[in-house]
Amino acid sequence: MEIYLPIAEQSMNIFVLLALGGAAGLLAGMFGVGGGFLATPLLIFVGIPPAVAVASQANQVVANSISSLQVQWRRGNVDLRMGLILLLGGMVGSSAGVTLFTYLKRIGQIDFVIAVTYVVMLSAIGLLMMYESLSTWLKRRRNPEAPRGKLHTHYLVHRLPLKMRFYKSKLYISALLPLGLGFLIGILSAILGVGGGFVLVPAMIYLLGMPTTVVIGTSNFQILFVAANVTFLQAVTNGTVDVVLALLLIVGGVIGAPIGARLAAKLPGVVLRGLMAVLILAVAVELLTELLRTPASQYSIGFREVVP
């Protein structure tokens, strides 16, 4: 069944879009990250213009994060102080990101920048996660009784000024860290249309040293507002948010998320992280081959303007 998307200005199969949203929701439920990193490239792959895919995906992330934040908030898994500081950085970052996006679209390089940023981000994170889960798995196999180590290790970054106490995360670190992290995630969110959970979650665990229990809730909190900001700014400056497209993705996601959560409950954490690493790497490789392969047609039409 086809439906006409009024902003993308083309018709598309309803079930393809629902399935796409469902796959993103499944990932969200399984791994606690938005799944946008998978949905956006796939939307572009099925022929949605990248600018519309990114902006509408940001709209979907809003729905996705409110629905998981609901649960996390009730369980008290949100470090509000950390969340607000991340958010402050995120707001500035996403506003700058939308401006950058508009500029790149204008000069006709947005597709390329989206693809390259995806390849770099995804392969870095995929490799890191792969390394981490493999080494954990090997260590456990060799010596199952091994102590779990310190609560968190101290790196150079812990010497930065403006130190703040984060009670819920049991941390005493510089506020500049979450601020900068939030800023970077904001830019990513604006350019890639993702919540940024797939970067934010590992960064909060490995870089900030936050306990895993509060990571998901806190990142959801930040992502909700940043995605809302991106949606709003994209609608105002580029007019590329397609609500029909977003609604279909959201409905698919709402159905997929609990299925993912149930699957996740049955699998151990190491396996789950390993699986996710494989998935991330697969998307990165696919995007990279797109960039390297000789295109079917060298030409495309950038934009159309009616000149009086």
């Binding site: 086809e2 009024p6 809003v62 709402v254 039409i301 950038g302 159309r304």
Partner: protein, 271 residues
């Protein structure tokens, strides 16, 4: 027999005229009623060419998947029919990918002015034969029409041609320049019909539908009709808000996402 034909003609004419009255082009864009070309002799006493469309406009609804319109009419034999449909002209920027450090990157760009959003030509005889006899530049094949498209800025000729070819290639892929020259089928030597294919990804605006009657390579009659193409209903409403009420549309989109996400999450967890 002659009388019957005249009667049919009159009836058809009346229905065409009433159709035009009943369904004025309702598109919001400024019309382009260029009227009849100069090469057409001033209004003949009895019309030699009558044309109507199966629909007065192309409506892009939520279920729109592209559409095929039927153009039909009647003419005074002898003669040949050529139909040209043109979308509104605009400036289009063509991008070209080139290999850069192993990656394919948009490095070249060229803008063209006066590019028709859509171009379709159909004829009752092979077009080359009709056009070769010269119609005063009135009827252009796609290649001739594209040759007249103005490039913006300066560029080496050979390269400009490649961009022009690229532009046609992209438009053709999108179904906006249907590759083949359509066949106008003629029946009983005076009735004709042709199908006009419109793809799903169709730019909005007032399209220009023209039918020509040619005799010995000269245009003896021409009919021009505007064909509004636009979104209607829900799609039109949404696109209108997105265009004119950006902030409101953005807030609406966020509210929708919050509501559906919240309710959906709550409902699915109960199941």
């Amino acid at each position: 027999m002659r009388r019957a034909a005249l009667l049919v003609m009159a009836l058809l004419w009346a229905s065409a005229a009433s159709a035009q009255r009943a369904e004025p082009p309702t598109g919001s864009l400024p019309g382009d009623p260029r009227g009849l070309p100069p090469s057409v002799p001033a209004a003949p006493a009895t019309p030699d060419l009558i044309v109507d469309l199966s629909q007065p406009r192309v409506s892009i609804t939520s279920a729109f998947q592209g559409e095929t319109l039927l153009l039909f009419g009647m003419f005074d034999p002898p003669g040949e029919i050529v139909v040209v449909v043109q979308g509104p002209a605009a400036r289009e920027t063509v991008l070209r990918k080139e290999r850069f450090l192993g990656l394919w990157l948009n490095t070249g760009r060229q803008a063209f002015d006066d590019v028709p959003a859509y171009y379709y030509i159909a004829a009752s005889q092979p077009v080359q034969r009709l056009l070769a006899r010269g119609t005063g530049g009135e009827i252009l094949s796609l290649a001739d029409r594209m040759a007249s498209v103005r490039s913006v800025g300066t560029r080496e000729d050979a390269d400009l041609i490649r961009f022009r070819v690229g532009l046609v290639e992209v438009k053709r892929r999108e179904g906006l320049y249907p590759a083949a020259i359509g066949q106008v089928s003629v029946q009983a030597n005076r009735l004709f019909r042709v199908e006009l294919p419109f793809p799903s990804r169709l730019p909005e605006g007032i399209y220009d539908v023209r039918a020509y009657l040619l005799r010995q390579g000269r245009i003896v009659a021409a009919v021009s009709r505007p064909l509004p193409v636009g979104k209607v209903g829900f799609s039109a409403q949404l696109a209108g808000w997105a265009d004119h009420e950006g902030p409101l549309y953005g807030l609406g989109a966020i509210a929708m996402a919050l509501l559906v996400g919240w309710l959906g999450g709550a409902v699915m967890r109960r199941l």
